[in-house]
Symmetry: C2
Subunit: 330 residues, 2 copies
Amino acid sequence: MNDKIRIGIVGYGNLGKGARLAIVQNPDMELIAIFTRRNVDSIHVEDKQVKVLNIHMAEEYVDLIDVMLLCGGSAVDLPIQGPYFASMYNTVDSYDNHGNISEYFRDMDKASKLKGKTSTICIGWDPGLFSMNRILFESILPKGESYTFWGPGLSQGHSDAIRRVVGVKDGVQYTIPIKDALEAIRRGKTPQLTTGEKHIRKCYVVEEEGADKDKILKEIKSMPNYFLDYDTEVIFISEKELKENHSQMLHGGFVIRCGSTGREYDNNHLMEFSLKLDNNPEFTSSILLAYARATYKLNKEGHVGAKTVFDIPLKYLSNRTSVDLCKSLL
Amino acid sequence: MNDKIRIGIVGYGNLGKGARLAIVQNPDMELIAIFTRRNVDSIHVEDKQVKVLNIHMAEEYVDLIDVMLLCGGSAVDLPIQGPYFASMYNTVDSYDNHGNISEYFRDMDKASKLKGKTSTICIGWDPGLFSMNRILFESILPKGESYTFWGPGLSQGHSDAIRRVVGVKDGVQYTIPIKDALEAIRRGKTPQLTTGEKHIRKCYVVEEEGADKDKILKEIKSMPNYFLDYDTEVIFISEKELKENHSQMLHGGFVIRCGSTGREYDNNHLMEFSLKLDNNPEFTSSILLAYARATYKLNKEGHVGAKTVFDIPLKYLSNRTSVDLCKSLL
Ligand SMILES: NC(=O)c1ccc[n+]([C@@H]2O[C@H](COP(=O)([O-])OP(=O)(O)OC[C@H]3O[C@@H](n4cnc5c(N)ncnc54)[C@H](OP(=O)(O)O)[C@@H]3O)[C@@H](O)[C@H]2O)c1
Ligand SMILES: NC(=O)c1ccc[n+]([C@@H]2O[C@H](COP(=O)([O-])OP(=O)(O)OC[C@H]3O[C@@H](n4cnc5c(N)ncnc54)[C@H](OP(=O)(O)O)[C@@H]3O)[C@@H](O)[C@H]2O)c1
């Protein structure tokens, strides 16, 4: 008899690859199959035991997989793949399109309830761990100010934006918290700050041969939403240097709240949560797996429908017994 | 009609006083009464509206109070007051006797289920917020090492121990994390460390007139459990200096996990949670209130019995609606 939680992966990009590696770290889980839209022969997985299947095969596995990790992109893949899989499987995804979460929640809730499944959405570090700290901090210290800083880290969306500029061959963008802003808050200040007052943007760009560097620089710096309202630095480098020094997917960030209590609100308290990650998708998929365990247990107990990090008690994430949790971690 | 959560406070020490002040910060709550074992006339509360009652009056208030905050001490008060109140009221306490939590949980669970009440136990920052991060960190990165550092902060227990030494008139003890140990972990090291390898203990002592300072110093430094296994510093100061510089109840600490992922476990990730508190009991009682809100809601939904931070979804702590939570904090 097999007591392991049987995991499936949908979509084999960065997150999907990270999830495959993370499953090995969790002795109570096993990987059953990876589902992809691409030609299965084009996907190379080191471990020959792992099945790579076309996504259309997923309907055949409903009795063989306990939780499906949806590792597709938030913009285009998840709005379609999410409800489709949620109607057949317990699912976990890292949907991160902040503006559309309410609709996505509604769609996933409806789909998963059809067959009594549980769909845990918006899992990762932001949304995810950072959201948990935002709600926790604010609930404890109602009088105060919360701040989220991202980075230092490589931003996929901003790197993509750079690469779309005419004359740019390749490039990456780092989001970097402004130290002075961070330190002021740590000293108990509660300024009102825009995202641009909290972060600088540093771009490493490889230009096409003969491209006009000045023009590239101006175009990047004036890009609305992405760079215009930021202190943006553009550094031109060689293709070789980009490959060697900028191919790691570093990321991280901080959630901080400075709040006060007491008769005259004269006692200040600082709560801080921070991450420093060598590899963003590997870390994010490790979070997906902890929530896959939770999703599996919640569904066994009859908690169906869509869930977020706000809905799930922490004990569900752990592989330890309740008694052990009390003894070892409380 | 009154929609506020009606709060009672049992025990008017540091936590009880902090709780009274914190209720004012939470517009969805109101303080009904403070219950004490002492002569009610000996208790001075600024706000004349607040009832101060003998603890025996508590039985009369079962229909007038939604959640009782148990602010007694963990060693002697809570083992008795806990089950007594849990059998009449929804309760929240900050029981922190790590070694006896399982028994306390069992007693509170039994008592609260008798009348369909909910008792949330071990609330605070350690146990409490730190425990939440310990379970979260370990569940996400199974391969890694977690560390808890306490301080810089005033330790009540260790200060009491100093004051019991013959020749000591008064004194306080600060627990201080060892910077080098903290920094090594932040750089990705995962050493095995005892509590003594993570902290130093700094004592400020006022001696009785004519007392033998050398003897006091030796006695403190050789006290088993408390100081023997630590790098302990003893500084003699005047009574005036103690009053002026060491009467604030500063505290704080860190929970850190360094873990790794990837094919060769070559990607390191650092997760860190930290607190820097001007006033330990005021902050702790603010946590009690967020959990009072949760306890109230849980009980309304029929979740009875004893609960810890591992059992309670974060949404219950907040005063915001689910839709607002998704929009503003997720
Ligand atoms: N909440 C958080 O903290 C957090 C953190 C990180 C990421 N995320 C989110 O997670 C989502 C996925 O991120 P990701 O980095 O895994 O995205 P990605 O690498 O672009 O992968 C997305 C999808 O693209 C397809 N794909 C991957 N490589 C391909 C290739 N070579 N050719 C054609 N198609 C390919 C895959 O589907 P097929 O296998 O079906 O082709 C894959 O599922 C993003 O939307 C991101 O925003 C959230
Ligand atoms: N989990 C955490 O992170 C955390 C953090 C901080 C504290 N705690 C725990 O919370 C518990 C309470 O801490 P505390 O600082 O509030 O303790 P405290 O000030 O010693 O108060 C404990 C009790 O002593 C009685 N008392 C207070 N002042 C008195 C006085 N002048 N004369 C006689 N009796 C008096 C009060 O009961 P009556 O009014 O009935 O006399 C009060 O409920 C401790 O056990 C502590 O370990 C936990």
